[in-house]
């Protein structure tokens, strides 16, 4: 896929750095490519739900950001990204030492960008298991006050 802004990586990383929620949970963006980003989240007990697994909403947070920035990586300089909606299936308990969220664009558009995402748990022995899959719709936003990148 072809980025419209040659500085897309720098722009995506700068925007991610402004997501205070990612800082709060300890997530880091480890890779940015045109139409694809990767975010990693180390396990912390403070992120868990009642069974000791990472909360579904936290799992969703990292894969939403991964998908949103996959979309933003392809957008022109004057555009920002908003999540319209997503659907997540939680297919295995989110147990592991860290979690890797992959977001990728499957259909770029002038106004609507459709993405798919995945979260993999990395276990103590280094093996990986997919814990969640996402199908998401992002919107290209232009000239709206307060919305940039």
């Amino acid at each position: 896929m072809q980025p419209q802004d040659p500085q897309f990586e720098q722009r995506v990383r700068a925007s991610f750095a402004r997501q205070q929620a990612m800082m709060l949970i300890g997530a880091e963006m480890i890779d940015v490519a045109p139409g694809r980003t990767t975010i990693v989240l180390p396990f912390r007990a403070t992120l868990t739900q009642q069974h000791g697994f990472v909360h579904a909403g936290i799992v969703t947070s990292i894969v939403d950001s991964a998908c949103g920035y996959a979309a933003l990586s392809l957008m022109p300089l004057d555009a920002g990204v908003l999540t319209i909606e997503y659907k997540v299936n939680l297919i295995n308990p989110a147990a592991g030492v860290r979690f890797v969220a992959l977001g990728q664009v499957v259909k770029p558009g002038r106004t609507i960008v459709v993405c798919t995402g995945e979260v993999r748990a990395v276990r103590t022995d280094g093996t990986e298991l997919t814990v969640a899959i996402m199908q998401a719709t992002m919107m290209v936003v232009r000239d709206r006050e307060g919305i940039q990148d």
Copy 2:
């Protein structure tokens, strides 16, 4: 709707208290009724995304918990709840002084419980605006190691 466990409220509140992720973000359960719960989240800058609104994943976290506990409130004593999947539409920017998530059961079942949820932003002037709607599928889990309530 008819709870199968007369102590449902105490059980739901005790389980919610074990969700460390809710503590991390500052969410509180303010109401539990059979098939319906309410969670409130005060705004904090640490919960925001790049535009200064509360992150979609955080919005999702509170309404997922509200829906999951709405489901658990109707379950028998020996059962726990797991989120299978959900879909969220983010219909307005999550701007406000606090956010109220409502989760309710629309179809209780022996194995599958379907819920709908909503998150309302309360603004400085006290008015409310719906910022997200959820449609979710929860599962009744029995006799699975590590899964209770």
Copy 3:
């Protein structure tokens, strides 16, 4: 909700009449209001899946049309409607003598319109049971060749 085209009902009904798929399955639009439409589908054995219930895709067809036309009812004269995405929970088997699909706008927007829908089965004894719920995202389309109403 306020329609932008005073002739919205006539326009919605004319567009529905062009949906050959609705004719094929025997669906009729029985009500149009600003931001809300109702479609009815009598049971036919030719619409069923392997267990004798109406096929989930057919159930989806009528509630997608109901939601799409709910959205179109609020749009200006030069705009058409496209379904971007939807999510459907099939909460009871689609058994009945006829099925009533209700679509309504929950968030009208300049570009994006979010709707919820429901399909109720009417049984032999006249009672109704909800068989499906939908959460859908529609798009306002302007000036695109081949897309009108």
Copy 4:
């Protein structure tokens, strides 16, 4: 993936043959493998919506069947399949001479089976374009009256 019933293909095809809705629209099952099926639907004007594209609900019908039978292909002999829910993104107009729906299991389970699906349009010149993607949740049903295969 490992089928539990060695006669899975025959069983899936026999069940598909009972889906009268597939006959009505002219869909055929062209491939069955463990955890994966393919359905093809030739274009017919009677399947269209108001813009002349195949109706989203018809597109959904074939990919729902493809996903459901992908799930059934892995189930034991005494089990049937029910669609719990799905989410579909319609990423390109459904224009073409025929449509190919692929359904595959991404997470088999004792009770819940998660699938992804895709519908590709084949155009006059033989090229293909993805028109829809699905993320679906299927349920394994045992000993329920009227539900088999």
